[in-house]
């Protein structure tokens, strides 16, 4: 059944209860993410990062909610702008800095970069660039868990509104519903796919309407409001875990950066920047904390300092580590060594 979650009305009373019981925890992951990504951007500008840098500015509230409610044994398939979710899921910062800085000790060992990193053995899938492809892979991991008799697990896969227009995504959503696996798909409509605005991406009234067509339950939400993100995405995870049909959540935000740091995003119109979904979710969350007096200013400053220190440490550590070397590399794409073809 199609249900659309309403944005929760925000009261300006002196209540001190947070909008969600994990609000502050989530806020700290968002803060860490913003701090990390700003640092990555400056390293990129300084020429210290090879390849692209893709950040999730403006999407941290949605993303953190994607990682926060997953437990041991759950599967997470993050995408381009999911640093907050990855961190909340348990990805150590050093994985990020090692990958961006090309350390041989990182999870990808210099073989793949930036956002493609993952730890399949720790249930953090390693995305391929081809958008939409990870949905069915997530379905497969959940089927395997069911085959093995595991219980109480879910999978959560992220996608952008651009990736939602691929055939691969369509096949993946459909097969998820056919297999009735406990999957949550969180689609973030940040109103652009690279430079292409929504009106050249799709022509349906609302992307969440597709849920009913796939046999998913669908919800849409204001992705700039952390409390709502936690409520709605947390609720979807809970419903999937409880055996409801697969869940689709469509979040509305604006991408507050270029597509990557190489992109000045000059095509983003002034008009769209004035829309309610263009708010910065981190600022909104911080304002909520101040308005509701959830923590004092010193504590906030302390959190900021701590985040900066963690980021600095992860960068400094990765910078000390060895880079991969072509003549020492194990050029072997198969795990079965005696079946490697020889081109000598």
């Amino acid at each position: 059944m199609l249900q659309t979650a309403q944005r929760t009305a925000k009261s300006k009373t002196k209540k001190t209860a947070p909008p969600h019981d994990r609000f502050l925890e989530a806020f700290r992951w968002m803060l860490l993410t913003r701090t990390l990504e700003e640092k990555l951007v400056s390293l990129y500008r300084g020429g210290l990062i090879t390849g692209g840098v893709y950040i999730g500015k403006g999407q941290e509230a949605v993303s953190v909610a994607c990682g926060l409610f997953l437990q041991q044994g759950d599967i997470f398939a993050p995408l381009i702008r999911d640093q907050a979710g990855r961190s909340a899921f348990g990805e150590p910062l050093i994985d990020v800095t090692r990958t961006y800085l090309g350390s041989r000790l990182g999870p990808m060992r210099g073989r793949d970069g930036n956002i493609h990193r993952g730890h399949p053995r720790k249930n953090e899938l390693a995305m391929i660039s081809h958008l939409g492809a990870m949905i069915s892979v997530t379905v497969g991991t959940l089927m395997a868990k069911r085959f093995k008799g595991e219980k109480n697990f879910v999978g959560l896969a992220c996608i952008g509104e651009g990736g939602m227009q691929t055939g691969s995504l369509h096949e993946g959503m459909n097969i998820a519903a056919v297999e009735q696996v406990p999957l949550v798909v969180v689609a973030t409509n940040n109103h652009y796919a690279y430079s292409t605005p929504n009106d050249r991406e799709f022509a349906c009234h609302d992307l969440v309407d597709r849920a009913i067509g796939y046999g998913f339950e669908g919800y849409s939400l204001d992705g700039t409001d952390l409390g709502t993100c936690l409520d709605v995405i947390g609720g979807a995870v809970k419903r999937a875990r409880a055996g409801r049909p697969p869940q689709l959540v469509v979040a509305s935000v604006l991408r507050l950066s270029g597509h990557g740091e190489h992109d000045d995003a000059s095509y983003v119109t002034e008009e769209i920047k004035r829309q309610p979904f263009a708010r910065d979710c981190l600022k909104v969350a911080e304002q909520t904390i101040i308005d509701l007096n959830l923590v004092d200013a010193e504590t906030l400053a302390e959190w900021r300092k701590k985040a900066a220190a963690q980021v600095d440490e992860a960068i400094a550590d990765a910078q000390k580590e060895p880079a991969p070397e072509g003549d020492k590399e194990d050029w072997c794409a198969l795990s079965t060594r005696d079946l490697v073809d020889s081109f000598e």
């Binding site: 399949p120 497969g140 991991t141 093995k148 097969i175």
Partner: protein, 322 residues
């Protein structure tokens, strides 16, 4: 008892389902009472409830799902209804399965069965041989069994291998090849086989073209030429050593394959032999492939499009005159 190539494939899957609880079969129409477009899974859904599953017509998602299941410890066997439709799954096969171990150190033990190659009247979209495309990309093993025995043991081996295997089963051989019984064990994966010994030239082939090459060798034998026929068995990895050893004996090389002529398995064999064994050659190596057009529907056109025993023999005669 007589068992066909197709029955060997079914038997291999039955055995795998019996002995290995990680195995499941995933593909269009493989389940229920139907048992697949070619009946390669007939009866298996009943014998192994819940483990032989029909899928939507979603090749991309079928392979994606298999990849995910494999990462989590299963051993899925995917049946493509026809090899031709695996083009829809190319992305998952090449970019996801083929890169996964290299990128993450976690192998993807999936087996993808491709009913391959031409039969009369099947036309451009139900006749393709795609081994060369899959062999071109890193991270995949490409099997091309040419005998009933290999169809059986290689499929069992494919599922045991920790890496993705593209298993090209030839539709023409499904009913045309028969064996008395199934072996317990075959040659190791990656090892070519001398299917027929000879001293005058080497014909390297695989899958259905191996059978055509054997028939060509019979024709040549009646004319007094002894062709050695090498069955590659897997086109990747390619057993260049066995091929080179044969060329060392014969001095002449002809390669026959059913895929399109630009590049591919036959070109790879010739590249390896000329670069590693140029001194062994008494004449320029030759190859025969299908024509560089889509595969025709009409039997007259179809039989002229792909190599066969007659034109393999003709090419061999010309090479022997060199």
């Amino acid at each position: 008892m007589s068992i066909t190539y197709l029955e060997a494939i079914r038997e291999a899957q039955a055995k795998l389902l019996r002995v290995d609880e990680r195995v499941f079969i995933y593909g269009q129409d493989v389940g229920g009472t139907f048992g697949g477009a070619f009946k390669a899974t007939k009866g298996l859904a009943k014998e192994f409830p819940g483990r032989v599953l029909n899928t939507p017509i979603s090749e991309d998602a079928i392979v994606g799902t298999a990849i995910g299941a494999a990462i989590q410890g299963m051993r899925p066997i995917v049946e493509m209804q026809f090899a031709d439709f695996s083009s829809i799954a190319l992305n998952q096969i090449l970019n996801n399965a083929g890169t996964h171990y290299w990128r993450t150190n976690v192998p993807v033990p999936i087996t993808i069965r491709l009913p391959s190659g031409g039969t009369k009247g099947s036309g451009p979209f139900h006749s393709q041989s795609m081994e060369s495309i899959y062999a071109h990309y890193p991270g995949l093993i490409v099997m091309t069994p040419a005998t009933v025995e290999d169809a059986y043991t290689m499929l069992i081996e494919a599922v045991a291998i920790d890496d993705p295997v593209i298993y090209c089963e030839h539709k023409y051989l499904y009913y045309h090849l028969k064996a008395d019984k199934l072996p317990e064990k075959g040659l190791p994966t990656g090892r070519a086989r001398i299917a027929r010994e000879g001293r005058d030239l080497t014909i390297v082939s695989y899958s259905a073209m191996m059978q055509e090459s054997l028939a060509a060798a019979e024709e040549l034998a009646r004319e007094g030429f002894e062709a050695e026929v090498v069955d590659l068995r897997t086109v990747k990895p390619l057993d260049a050593d066995t091929v080179l050893a044969s060329v060392a004996r014969t001095g002449r090389l002809l390669c026959a394959g059913e895929s399109f002529p630009w590049g591919g398995a036959t070109a790879e064999v010739i590249a390896r032999v000329t670069s590693q064994g140029f001194h062994l050659l008494d004449a320029a190596p030759q190859r025969l492939n299908a024509k560089d057009t889509p595969i025709p529907y009409h039997p007259n056109l179809w039989s002229a499009h792909r190599p066969n025993a007659q034109n393999i023999a003709a090419k061999a005669r010309a090479l022997l005159r060199e």
